[in-house]
């Protein structure tokens, strides 16, 4: 029987009816919906046993203690560690992103060399070490080392290699540490300044952004939390003086708007009032200090800083009434402050009787160095990287033949970065040991990938801001996600081939020796324990450093009519990490929109400048210029523009590169009279509509 059209249609109708009575359409529909959940780019759960490893962050400048959660052998999350003195149940936004940073698109995945045409060429580790060795040998004593690590024993290794080559040029990236160490040295002090914030009953932070970026932040936050129970009256008063209502100012019980870079003047104003009320210090230069402080009358302080006489007097009275007051000084953006600032703050502490007292300032002992030819912390504090690069730029000292950068990004992270980059051009061979392809690595001839702190052995010794001597190990929680080698092991190997005698064959041996020198038990450290000690360094003949303060303040730059106030936030990362991709969503819409950053000013300043919210403006000064849009925020002092740090990367990845502009372009380096310390916490700026 032939099948005609009508017969065929009947067949189709029957088949359709039949199919509807089978699982075919319904099962396919269901399966298709499941199939759409199986795209290759959707991550899958990998089951495994949960375990936790205690360690410490080498990426976060606050040396955050943390617990890493592993599922099977895979680290999945950085968590707070209740039992760690540098976590105390908290974690910083940067440390929280550390596990995800292992898989950052900017990680350097293998050794690279820059070829003649500027392209990167992947090379083997053997070839990389050969290039490194030949160039270090060729450079001889004309070599400089730059470290981005403040707390690791690797600085002894790097400085030891410099010295073994006959060079004194070892530098650490600038932070709060150097001015504090130099200040204590100027006081004839022994050890490192430590702050017993937990036991204080009145905390005055002059510029020190203690709840966001200053010192061991998590410890500061824990002390703040402890003294500020929810829905109850605070037991400790926190006062913050600074130009912007930062996170610290917002959390503090009182915010004293004070111009950027005037912390020392506020401190001397308070010292003057305390001395008038009868306070004194048994120090050989007290009379000199008294005369210096007397110059800073409340009226003068008000004119220089913006802190009203009544407010200054009230703070001085509150401080003198407190039983265990503590004054902390620093820069609201964690760098660029002068030695005089720390001296003035410490002098106030001494006037209050808070030096060496519970809840006050302590002198913490530091473990002796273990690499004989290396530099200890006080020697390192005298080495001023910005001053060194500026001298090269000015032609006062010759550029080295080779520079070694260890987890340091000066091309982005120093003031006037364009000028710093020009100095780099003068150096024939540059090598970067780095985890990420940052601006400095891009300017280097050889780029060597280092494992992150979660992938290597490293150490942290008594970070600045802590109140007791401390030592802990960072331990590898996972294999290195890239073809990286610990820089210390590579350098020790090269050093041995160059016949340098550093006394150790492996970095683990160095760390063991350091742990022993610190008084810590190696086996406990390897299990994630940490070493703390309440011992204090003995002092004799402590001075106030009045002469140093006098010289510095006599020549201190006056605040400009319109100043910028850089603001540091850890979620936006550091020059070494850029913005962790995990953290992009924590950046607020009035901080960054797409690739445009916002700067904040109050309504009165905006009216004076003739700008309104969202206006595109250009900020210019003698150092450089940046573009941004305007945000109006009444938590900024008059005639001040708050600019977030951490934007404007020209390297890294889509999560950081080209997002906003780098405030460091506007920071002008000056030199503190008397100490020669490079400072950049005062910068004027002109604003025009872009």
């Amino acid at each position: 029987m032939a099948v005609d059209r009508r017969g065929f249609l009947k067949f189709v109708a029957g088949a359709t009816t039949g199919v509807l009575a089978t699982p075919v359409p319904w099962k396919l529909l269901d399966d298709a919906s499941i199939w759409t959940q199986n795209w290759s780019w959707i991550p899958r759960n990998v089951d495994g046993e949960n375990s936790y490893i205690s360690t410490i962050s080498k990426l976060c400048p606050s040396a955050a203690g943390m617990k890493i959660r592993l599922v099977g052998n895979r680290p999945v999350r950085a968590l707070p560690d209740d039992n760690h003195p540098l976590s105390m149940g908290g974690i910083t936004a940067l440390a929280a992103a550390e596990v995800q940073l292992m898989y950052s698109p900017s990680r350097v995945k293998r050794p690279l060399k820059h070829s003649g045409d500027g392209a990167y060429v992947a090379i083997s580790w053997e070839e990389a070490e050969k290039i490194l060795k030949e160039n270090l040998r060729r450079a001889g004593s004309k070599i400089a080392y730059v470290s981005g690590d403040e707390t690791g024993t690797i600085n002894e290794l790097l400085s030891g290699m410099a010295k073994e080559s006959g060079s004194e040029d070892f530098y650490v990236m600038p932070s709060e540490v150097q001015p504090a160490a130099r200040a204590f040295a100027a006081m004839n002090g022994n050890g490192q300044l430590g702050y017993d914030i937990e036991n204080s009953d009145y905390v005055l932070a002059l510029g020190a952004n203690i709840l966001e970026s200053w010192g061991t932040v998590l410890r500061n936050r824990a002390a703040f939390k402890q003294s500020h129970p929810a829905a109850e009256k605070p037991t400790v008063k926190y006062v913050y003086a600074g130009p912007v209502q930062s996170n610290t100012a917002a959390g503090a019980d009182e915010w004293l708007p004070a111009k950027s870079g005037t912390e020392a003047i506020v401190a001397l104003g308070i010292a003057n009032l305390l001395i008038k009320a009868g306070a004194s210090v048994n120090a050989p230069d007290f009379a000199e200090f008294k005369a210096l402080a007397a110059q800073f009358t409340p009226q003068k302080v008000a004119s220089l800083t913006g802190v009203t006489p009544a407010k200054l007097k009230a703070i001085a009275v509150e401080l003198s009434k407190a039983e265990r007051p503590l004054v902390l000084t620093g820069s609201e953006f964690g760098q660029g402050t002068g030695v005089a600032t720390v001296l003035a703050g410490t002098a106030v502490n001494m006037l209050l009787g808070s030096f060496g007292r519970e809840g006050g300032v302590k002198a913490l002992p530091l473990a002796p160095k273990v690499i004989a030819s290396g530099m200890d912390r006080s020697e390192i504090a005298d080495k001023d990287l910005v001053a060194y690069l500026s001298r090269i730029s000015a032609g006062k000292v010759p550029a080295p033949r080779a520079m070694v950068f260890y987890e340091a990004n000066p091309v982005y992270g120093l003031p006037q970065p364009a000028a710093m980059a020009k100095v780099m051009d003068k150096v024939p061979f540059k090598v970067a040991f780095t985890s990420f392809l940052d601006e400095t690595a891009q300017a280097c001839d050889l780029i060597l990938p280092t494992p992150l702190g979660l992938e290597r052995f490293d150490d942290v010794e008594t970070p600045y801001g802590i109140g007791q001597a401390f030592y802990a190990l960072a331990r590898p929680v996972a294999p290195c996600a890239v073809d990286g080698k610990p820089a210390a092991d590579v350098l020790l190997n090269v050093a041995s081939q160059l016949n340098m005698d550093l006394g150790f064959a492996t970095y683990e041996e160095v760390l063991q020796a350091k742990a022993e020198a610190a008084g810590a038990d190696w086996d406990s450290l390897m299990e994630g324990e940490f070493f703390t000690s309440d011992a204090v360094a003995e002092q004799s003949g402590l001075r106030l450093g009045a002469a140093v303060m006098g010289k510095a303040l006599a020549a201190a730059p006056k605040a400009a009519k319109l100043s910028i106030a850089p603001v540091q936030k850890l979620n936006i990362g550091t020059p070494n990490t850029a913005i962790p991709p995990y953290n992009n969503k924590t950046i607020r819409r009035w901080e960054l929109q797409k690739n445009e950053m916002y700067v904040a000013m109050n309504g009165a300043t905006a009216r004076e400048l003739g700008v309104v919210k969202h206006d595109r403006i250009k900020l210019t000064n003698s150092s450089g210029s940046i573009q941004a849009r305007v945000n109006i925020f009444e938590g900024v002092m008059p005639n001040t523009i708050a600019v977030l740090m951490g934007f404007g990367h020209t390297a890294f990845d889509e999560f950081s590169k080209g997002k906003g502009e780098n405030v460091m372009e506007l920071l002008t380096v000056g030199y503190e009279a008397g100490t020669g310390q490079s400072v950049w916490n005062v910068a004027g700026v002109n604003v025009s509509k872009a």
Binding site: M1, V3, D4, R6, G7, F8, K10, F11, V12, A13, G14, A15, T16, T17, G18, V19, A21, T22, P23, V24, K27, L28, D30, D31, A32, I34, W35, Q37, N38, R44, N45, D47, E49, N50
Partner: protein
């Protein structure tokens, strides 16, 4: 002029000319056969386990409980399938039995430290959060009187008495197992009013879909 006819001139009925209802029924039957018999074979691929694991030997001969291998960890999470390392606690140097599969397991997995890529009959998608801890004997036996094997086999294939691992049918479209439970099967308990009354196991979406 040619006559236009609505019906054939030879008087044949339309039903005879177009086969009546037969094509409809032929189509119906073909579709039913395809849908119920051919389609499942086309949709699922048949796969055998990499090693023929005998649950019967372990449960009946070695007198082990399900939970000897499929246990809860100290933190309450469920270990699921044992690792090669766990199996090697018994199966290390010499085979314990005469099954060549055991010898192969030792040679190919224990000695190399490789994990066996078992086919999981009851693998759920990541968007389904199933807690074995919440479905424990302690919880279910408040009312039921399940043995461990009976409880496990409420959802899993009852492999306790099987000497040969059942064939694994993988859905070619979704890549999940044919035996993977669908939501309506979960709801046999979750939507059951008596279960809710006793266990407070709500049937709300977020109970399983996190």
């Amino acid at each position: 002029m040619e006559e236009r006819l609505l019906h054939p001139a030879d008087g044949n009925s339309t039903s005879r000319q177009f086969g009546g209802a037969a094509p409809f029924f032929v189509g119906l039957v073909v579709a039913l056969i395809f849908g119920w018999w051919a389609f499942p074979g086309m949709l699922f691929s048949e796969q055998e386990q990499p090693i023929n694991f005998s649950h019967k030997v372990h449960i009946q001969d070695a007198e082990m409980e399900c939970s000897a291998c499929h246990y809860f960890r100290e933190d309450g999470t469920f270990a699921g399938l044992p690792t090669t390392e766990s199996c090697a606690e018994c199966h290390s140097d010499e085979p314990l039995g005469e099954d060549p599969e055991e010898a192969r397991f030792i040679k190919e997995y224990v000695e190399t430290g490789k994990e066996v890529k078992w086919h999981v009959y009851q693998k759920q998608p990541d968007n389904v959060f199933f807690s074995h801890a919440a479905h424990s004997l302690e919880s279910c036996n408040n009312c039921h009187d399940f043995s461990e094997v009976e409880l496990c086999s409420q959802c899993h294939i009852d492999v306790a008495n099987m000497d040969k691992a059942p064939t694994y049918y993988e859905n070619k479209l979704t890549t999940y197992s044919k035996q993977t439970m669908k939501m309506w099967q979960c709801e046999r308990c979750h939507a059951h009013p008596e279960h809710y009354g006793v266990t407070r196991s709500s049937n709300a979406c977020f109970v399983c879909h996190k």
